[in-house]
């Protein structure tokens, strides 16, 4: 081909026009809001030089729309493509706020839908980086139906390929359901928002004053609503964390998660584990101290850290293989199960189950949270989600009872009869129908009422109950748990158990799907 020829010149001209479209000025505007441009985000995510953009020059049709005018730009405000992240094929799209506010029109949505379908065909994870004003008003119903096709694709791919959303700007109205449907949502503090109806509508309809940040900022979604799983202070940290997170995930539900060779710096037997759980059963401790000593050094990646912190969930590795951790957190509300922690745990377990990630449960739970609020808000139906999720999961499931395992909560937290594969208990474990105080009050109601010194008698009975019933040995001797272990060998025991379970297969009865109590 003659590079000074007509066809090549036309090619160059178009390239030039594209470059102009992404001008310095546009980038500067984006930077001044503390945000990166879509290209910069893509560049940060992918290994250098591996990203291939598709549909770069797709342009919205030059036809009259219902209302106003649509800018005719190359790409229509979204970059879609594929490339390698840490050497693995990943599909991605990134909305470009500098073009019509990243609004979603028909062409924009077709591009996203196309890349979604490709990701599903290849069995590769897909990342969506969102920074969009919402549906493109000018295109009316065409943009709404665009959303629908994106949602439909997400739901189709759900549980087959990992789907992750990264909110890096506004996401309002219908647009919020796209991240809500995906497996994990990352948000950037201060510069990203999500809400179904914005502050203006809230003001008009309800006469309530609320700022963008208060209504749908990253913190709100991370702490209160549970919509966002991971939040970071800036986009670079968000993307770096996302890259790290991806190293835990398999490409699809047929493969196993990737392997990260371990440097053997984590001791398999660690007597520090003996010192964490206090002798006083009412004293709190941080279960993350236990987690960090059991998993490969520095490998614990906590998910939804700020939401329902009375349960800790996260991915980690043991001997280089990804596992999921579900742990009661005695440090917060004594690790009690409530509505939020049940749903948080349930969703995480289902994710792990879908993507062949074994689940390790660390149990120290005094029970379900009592109270009118909880009962009326449906702790029964929400607690059932956790029960359902555990019972349904066919991946290897190992439980370590660290301390309390009382009543319904013991059943729910992956007990053996619920299909748990291995159940270990530390000598500090207390497995019983209820805690000593409650049990004594019921069992010895009469005696306590008649006693001249009820406080003293109660103390005595509580001690007796603790010695006789609330310990792991009865459960061990009757086979309801597998073994009472020295805390120091916990990691070693889990490693052996995981090895034994590596080929676990459970035949699931054929059905369309179970009916989880949603």
């Amino acid at each position: 081909m003659d590079i000074s020829g007509k066809s090549y010149k036309a090619f160059l001209k178009r390239q030039e026009a594209l470059k102009k479209q992404y001008s310095e000025k546009q980038a500067e505007k984006q930077h001044s809001k503390g945000k990166l441009t879509a290209q910069e985000r893509i560049n940060l995510l992918f290994d250098p030089g591996t990203f291939e953009e598709i549909d770069t020059f797709v342009t919205p049709a030059d036809q009259p729309v219902e209302f106003g005018k649509v800018e005719r730009t190359y790409g229509d405000g979204v970059i879609v493509g594929y490339g390698k992240v840490n050497g693995r094929l990943i599909f991605a799209y990134a909305q470009d706020f500098t073009i019509m506010g990243g609004s979603l029109g028909a062409v924009h949505s077709q591009k996203i839908a196309k890349i979604q379908e490709m990701a599903l065909k290849m069995g590769s994870p897909i990342i969506g980086m969102m920074d969009s004003g919402g549906a493109r008003i000018q295109e009316g119903v065409a943009s709404l139906s665009g959303y629908a096709s994106i949602f439909q694709n997400i739901i189709h791919s759900s549980g087959i390929i990992p789907q992750i959303s990264v909110i890096m700007g506004p996401a309002a109205g219908g647009a919020v359901y796209s991240p809500a449907l995906t497996d994990f949502v990352f948000m950037v503090n201060h510069t990203s928002y999500m809400f179904v109806t914005g502050p203006n509508v809230v003001r008009e309809v309800l006469n309530e004053e609320v700022t963008f940040d208060e209504l749908g900022g990253a913190k709100v979604h991370a702490c209160k609503s549970g919509v966002a799983h991971m939040i970071y202070d800036d986009e670079e940290n968000t993307i770096m964390a996302l890259k790290k997170f991806l190293t835990y995930l398999p490409s699809n539900n047929v493969e196993n998660p990737p392997f990260v060779p371990e440097d053997n710096s984590t001791p398999d037997i660690n007597d520090k584990l003996r010192d964490i759980v206090p002798d006083d059963p009412n004293k709190p401790y941080d279960v993350k101290d236990v987690i960090n000593l059991i998993v490969d050094r520095n490998s614990f990646f906590e998910t939804a850290e700020l939401y329902a912190p009375n349960i800790v969930t996260g991915l980690a590795r043991i001997k280089g293989k990804t596992i999921g951790i579900v742990a009661n957190q005695p440090k917060v509300l004594a690790g009690v199960l409530d509505i939020d922690s049940s749903t948080k745990g349930a969703r995480f377990i289902r994710f792990c189950d879908a993507f062949n990630i074994p689940i390790i449960t660390l149990e120290d739970v005094p029970g379900f949270l009592p109270g009118v609020d909880q009962e009326h808000a449906g702790i029964i139906r929400n607690g059932a989600k956790l029960l359902f999720a555990y019972s349904e999961a066919t991946v290897p499931r190992i439980t370590v009872i660290l301390r309390k395992a009382y009543g319904g909560a013991f059943i729910v937290m992956n007990c053996k009869k619920l299909g748990g594969d291995f159940s270990f208990a530390w000598p500090t474990a207390e497995i019983a129908v209820m805690g000593p105080d409650g049990a004594v009050a019921i069992l010895y109601r009469k005696e306590l009422a008649e006693s001249s010194n009820p406080a003293e008698l109660k103390k005595e009975l509580v001690k007796k109950y603790r010695d006789k019933i609330a310990n792991p040995f009865i459960a061990d001797e009757s086979g309801y748990i597998d073994e009472v272990i020295d805390p120091a060998v916990t990691r070693k025991k889990i490693i052996s158990a995981l090895q034994a379970l590596s080929n676990k297969w459970v035949k699931v009865p054929s059905r369309k799907h179970g009916n989880m109590p949603l």
Binding site: R88, T247, S251, P258
Partner: protein, 501 residues
């Protein structure tokens, strides 16, 4: 010797310290293994261990009078050494020992009681013409009385717990408006700590030095003093560094204060080792503050400058021996400094920082003495005090001692908890400390930063943070992920999984 076997009703470094002397005196020792630290270092030194680790009592065994007596009787001990803290200044306990024909290594219960109750001690001091800060005759019963009296003696005043010690239940009041608040706090704290809410008021001596005299007395009325200790480096009445002697005293003042110390001890027929605490103001006026009727944490500095083993003296006196040292035999030689290396976070205002000691290496040498009950693997637990070790350093004079101290501090290596080391590293370079002109207000008022970090330390720490960040996030090979591995699996699993979908 009547004493053949001593039960040590204490733990940690002081238990080891007592065992050391007992061994030299060929006396057997018994210690108690408590559930909260069943593998503590002091257990290795004793001749006998009474195992009490099966029980998890509500109060530490070292505070359980009945239990301690029972252990002593069961193990055939003929004497009990209470160490410091716990039951060391409990008159009831000392009396219980006597009732059970056990020798209490310490003073008579009556002396403990008199000196333990500060209002009584004050009255005794006044009756014997010993200078005390002006204040209330006895306890103050209500806020109104407190305000009236404070107006009379003038602000600032200090509220003290009658049964107090160690700084608890003490509050300084600078203006009448604050009286109500602090009065309530002080008596609440006193009630909680000493089961006695009564408090009294004294004029608060501004910026004094805390000087204390070590005394020894026998059961035959002989009392001598072993010179002073300078304990002005303290924070919220918790001593951090002690010296012997003090640069604030000349031999005249030493003699005067020493004689006063002996006088007050004699007034309560004191025997055993004890400490008389004084406040010394900038005009060299001194005021009796209180008497501690036990061996002190900081006793080693006196031992280093006098060459006298105080624990040995305590045991001999308890045994009924006559004091074998005369006042004129006491002759202070050289200078000694003790640094209390505690598991505390200097940056968080000396907040306790419990934890497990992972690495520990202490300096050694002819001028260095280390008293510790902690070793690698020991835990500093929140039920006990936060002491890791006492580093005691000697020199031919103060300058020499500080120089040796500086070198010794750089050789201390402790990992696992934060410690008071950065504070001492700062202190030995502080001008005011070097001059010796500091007062008890030194930490609160005279220093800006509680710790020392040399010029480049922060930069090195920043380098480490950056290195961690780079390794975790930016290095190409920071995480070696083997994605292919996920595709390999046994045909068993592969076939079944494929068939499912």
């Amino acid at each position: 010797m009547k004493i053949k076997k001593i039960l040590i009703a204490n733990r940690g470094e002081i238990a080891i310290r007592i065992i050391r002397t007992a061994k030299q005196m060929k006396i057997r020792t018994v210690v108690v293994r408590a559930a909260v630290e069943p593998n503590a270092m002091y257990l290795e030194y004793a001749d006998e261990i009474y195992d009490y680790s099966e029980e998890l009592p509500e109060i530490p065994v070292f505070l359980d009078i009945e239990k301690i007596i029972e252990i002593a009787l069961n193990t055939g001990a003929d004497a009990i050494h209470p160490g410091y803290g716990f039951l060391a200044e409990n008159a009831y306990f000392a009396n219980k020992c006597l009732e059970n024909k056990l020798i209490f290594i310490g003073p008579d219960p009556d002396s403990i009681y008199k000196m333990g109750n500060k209002t009584i001690a004050r009255k005794i001091a006044l009756a014997n013409g010993i200078p005390v800060a002006s204040g209330s005759e006895g306890n103050i019963s209500n806020i109104e009385e407190a305000i009236t009296l404070a107006d009379k003696i003038g602000y600032p005043v200090i509220i003290k717990a009658a049964s107090g010690g160690g700084g608890r239940g003490m509050r300084i009041v600078r203006k009448a408006e604050d009286m109500e608040k602090f009065f309530i706090i002080a008596s609440k704290e006193a009630e909680k700590a000493f089961k006695d809410p009564s408090v009294f008021i004294e004029r608060y001596i501004e910026n004094p030095k805390h000087i204390e005299f070590q005394i020894l007395g026998d059961k035959f009325g002989n009392v001598i003093h072993l010179g002073e200790r300078e304990c002005s480096i303290q924070r919220k009445h918790q001593k951090l560094l002690e010296e012997a002697p003090s640069s604030a005293l000349n031999s005249d003042l030493r003699q005067k204060m020493g004689a006063t110390a002996v006088k007050i001890a004699k007034a309560v027929d004191y025997y055993s080792a004890g400490t008389v605490e004084f406040l010394l103001d900038s005009d060299n006026n001194f005021y009796f503050m209180e008497m501690n009727t036990r061996i002190q944490v900081e006793h080693p500095v006196t031992e280093l400058v006098t060459g006298i083993d105080l624990i040995q003296q305590q045991i001999q006196i308890a045994n009924g021996n006559t004091l074998n040292i005369k006042q004129e035999d006491i002759n202070l030689k050289g200078w000694a400094i003790e640094c209390r290396i505690n598991a505390e976070d200097v940056q968080a205002g000396f907040a306790p920082d419990p934890g497990k000691i992972e690495n520990l290496s202490m300096p050694a040498g002819p001028d260095i003495r280390v008293d510790t009950g902690i070793t690698v693997g020991s835990s500093i637990i929140s039920s006990y005090d936060s002491m890791i070790a006492k580093l005691i350093v000697k020199g031919k004079d103060r300058k020499d001692a500080i120089k040796n101290c500086k070198m010794a501090l750089d050789k201390v290596w402790i990992k696992g908890t934060k410690t008071t080391l950065p504070f001492f590293r700062m202190l030995v370079r502080n001008q005011k400390f070097l001059e010796g002109t500091f007062t008890t207000a030194f930490i609160e008022k005279d220093i800006e930063k509680y710790y020392l970090n040399s010029e480049y330390e922060e930069m090195l720490a920043a380098w480490l943070a950056t290195k961690m960040f780079v390794e975790e996030n930016l290095e190409e090979n920071s995480i070696q992920v083997d994605f292919e591995n996920g595709k390999e699996m046994s045909p068993w699993l592969m076939n079944k999984r494929m068939n499912q979908f």
